[in-house]
């Protein structure tokens, strides 16, 4: 089940909330917890019930191992148990997410012809695997103790974070689930949650889905892209992924807040970043924190001199890239960001200052160009879009520019309809420009929620966003035969 579906908004969420608070009202704490776990598993199984045993087995395995780690005295054997647990989790993730990638690379190298498997990636496996690896590490360190399977199950399956994060920590969540004050309906949290839910729904359904049309068109075809089309393609995706993911996270935070559970924020206006380190402190914050705490620091962090630090950073970002998807484009994307972080460190070490507008322009464009590799299905697709962006397929300006800039014709600039590739999907110019202005000037959802006062203006704003989003979710096709 996804958040932007009628089933979730009008059935699952209201029913789960009502029953949860009713049970708590009658002090049936165990029943309310069980209800939330059962509802979360139902939420997960809605997509494909065949993967329910997988997540249940994963929970049972990690709970058992966490209990052993928590009770085991420190020593090499405890380290071996942790290693075994982490390896088992990674093996599960590796099989579902990376097995075919591995086989196709072996086939490419050795011409071995090993058949690839029909493996469907279970929803949310990357997130619940990382959440549980973090739990094992915390159990090893002694910062997480959980001897109740139901509590542990709730920690892993709590539906707002289950499919797409934020990645949570046991020590942040369990005190909230245990607090008796959190079991009473809190209208402030309910109202703030509704506001976040409406903002997230609007960002996902109205903005991101609209931008996806241009991104899909540009990345999907085989035809060469002219410069403007290529830039609009990449920018559409740059904003699509932000509004999509941050919108989904807003909905997760909002839904969770209705249960009086605060999830960690995941986005903090990332496109306002003035350098790449700043970007990673604002983008997918919980993943960045996970990579820092569970990969970069265990590798040694910055304790062994600059060269080792650079290697550690590169390894962290390459693995971060691979976590996002099984493909060389993702690894390259991670490598690009790792390189940028290393360059930033060297630059920062020399204490050279850059004017803020230039710093923003460089950072934003780097991120935008790197997203091309993230979005492209193949290196050829990425090359096709980048070739257009860097002018290798020529520049075509709108016909209206001919009078103003006719002298450029000598340089090979053409004038005409530059956006033929987007025919049938509308003009991306206004939408992309509006998205940029919004990202740079508007308050983000967390800031809006923090300043939230329940006045008529905010109510009208939230209702309007919801009405537009709900209406946009119900697409109709007046051209009856369009799909046949």
């Amino acid at each position: 089940m996804i958040f932007n579906s009628n089933e979730f908004l009008f059935f699952f969420l209201p029913v789960t909330l009502t029953v949860y608070f009713l049970l708590n009202r009658y002090r049936l704490t165990l029943a309310s917890k069980s209800w939330l776990v059962a509802a979360s598993l139902f939420f997960y199984s809605w997509w494909d019930v065949r993967y329910l045993p997988l997540i249940l087995a994963s929970i049972a395995f990690n709970y058992a191992l966490g209990t052993v780690l928590g009770k085991h005295p420190d020593g090499r054997r405890k380290g071996a148990i942790l290693l075994f647990g982490a390896a088992a989790n990674l093996a599960l993730l590796g099989y579902y997410k990376y097995f075919n990638f591995f086989i196709s690379n072996v086939n490419g190298l050795l011409d071995s012809g090993i058949p690839v498997q029909r493996i469907i990636l279970p929803l949310g496996i990357s997130f619940f695997t990382f959440t549980q690896i973090a739990y094992l590490v915390d159990s090893y360190k002694g910062t997480a103790r959980e001897y109740d399977l139901l509590n542990y199950g709730l920690f892993v399956t709590f539906f707002p974070h289950l499919l797409a994060g934020p990645i949570i920590h046991h020590k942040d969540m369990m005190p909230q689930f245990a607090s008796s004050r959190k079991k009473v309906l809190n209208y402030k949290n309910m109202a703030t949650g509704l506001l976040l839910l409406s903002i997230g729904l609007f960002k996902k359904v109205v903005i991101a889905d609209r931008l996806s049309m241009w991104a899909n068109t540009g990345f999907g075809g085989d035809a060469p892209l002219n410069m403007l089309s290529a830039w609009y393609t990449s920018l559409s995706y740059t904003f699509q992924i932000y509004f999509d993911f941050s919108g989904y996270t807003d909905m997760a935070l909002g839904a969770s807040l209705m249960f009086n559970i605060k999830l960690p924020i995941n986005f903090n206006s990332p496109y306002k970043a003035l350098n790449i380190q700043d970007f990673w402190r604002r983008w997918h914050i919980t993943l960045s924190r996970f990579l820092r705490d569970y990969i970069y620091i265990p590798l040694g962090g910055n304790k062994s001199g600059p060269n080792v630090t650079y290697v550690n950073l590169m390894v962290t970002f390459l693995l971060g890239g691979l976590w996002h998807g099984a493909g060389w484009t993702f690894i390259l994307w991670g490598g690009l960001h790792g390189t940028a972080i290393v360059v930033h460190r060297i630059w920062h070490g020399h204490n050279i200052r850059m004017p803020k507008p230039l710093a923003w322009l460089l950072t934003f464009n780097f991120v935008n160009i790197a997203w091309v590799f993230f979005r492209a299905k193949t290196m050829q697709d990425a090359h096709r879009v980048l070739a257009g962006m860097f002018g290798l397929n020529g520049l075509m300006l709108p016909a209206g520019f001919k009078k103003l800039m006719d002298a450029l014709s000598i340089k090979g600039v053409e004038y005409g309809n530059w956006r033929t590739i987007f025919d049938g999907t509308g003009d991306p110019s206004f939408f992309v420009a509006a998205a940029l202005v919004f990202c740079l000037l508007a308050r983000n959802s967390n800031e809006t929620a923090a300043r939230f006062t329940p006045d008529k203006k905010t109510l009208a704003f939230a209702l309007l966003l919801t009405f537009i989003a709900l209406t946009s979710m119900g697409k109709v096709y007046e051209f009856l035969y369009f799909n046949f």
């Binding site: 209208y187 402030k188 509704l194 006045d455 109510l459 209406t471 051209f479 009856l480």
Partner: protein, 215 residues
């Protein structure tokens, strides 16, 4: 806290009111023109949201039905297999396949689009090919029809030549009973309801409601 309580209640009641309003408009006016319930509605009713001009079309075929659909296939020889969009599926009231069957005395079987999000008749043809049906049916010719306005769109996307599907699903949908062509699912909260209300108001001032799709 009372302010927050009022906010939450008004918000929830506002959303419920909006849902009910949509349900009312949908059930009373737009369901007939946007869904398959009344498939013979005219274009004007559908494109312009003019429910008053909805009528039942009388569809007449100039040739007798001589082709077969997949659900009528019982292993008989098939010379021509056809795939395509509405033009191939008889939405104008007749089938070009009947013309071929009548004039050239071919046995013709039409394969309707195998459903699934984003699947086209090209995908259907590849699925039928990759799932072994072409080898089984052994047609002499395969016709893939596409409207001219769609050919660029088809040619400019990645074609997955390896696409396939579960044979049980294909059998169930295409070979076990009359294929049910359906419009994409329309939810009762939809943009059509808003267009209907807006256009109904604007028709008072303009014959095409200023920006409806009717001329």
């Amino acid at each position: 806290m009372r302010q927050y309580r009022r906010f939450a209640f008004v918000f929830i009641f506002g959303v419920i009111a909006y849902l009910l309003m949509n349900l009312f408009v949908f059930k009373v006016w737009t369901e007939d023109i946007l869904t398959w319930n009344n498939q013979h509605n005219g274009d004007e009713a559908r494109l312009g949201y003019i429910t008053g001009s909805a009528y039942d079309k009388l569809l007449v075929s100039p040739t007798p039905k001589r082709h077969i659909e997949t659900y009528e296939y019982k292993g008989q020889p098939v010379d021509v297999l056809t795939f395509g969009d509405s033009f191939s599926n008889g939405y104008g009231g007749s089938f070009y396949q009947d013309w071929i069957a009548s004039v050239d005395n071919f046995s013709v079987m039409n394969v309707r689009t195998f459903r699934g999000k984003g699947r086209s008749s090209l995908d259907t043809m590849l699925i039928i090919l990759n799932s072994g049906y072409i080898d089984k049916i052994k047609p002499r010719y395969v016709i893939l029809e596409v409207l001219e306005r769609n050919i660029v769109e088809w040619g400019s996307v990645d074609i997955d030549f390896t696409i396939t599907a579960d044979r049980k699903e294909i059998d169930a949908e295409l070979f076990r009973g009359p294929a049910k062509d359906q419009l994409p699912e329309v939810k009762f909260v939809n943009e059509g309801n808003m267009k209907f209300l807006l256009y109904s108001l604007l028709y008072k001032f303009s014959d095409n409601a200023f920006f409806s799709k009717t001329c």
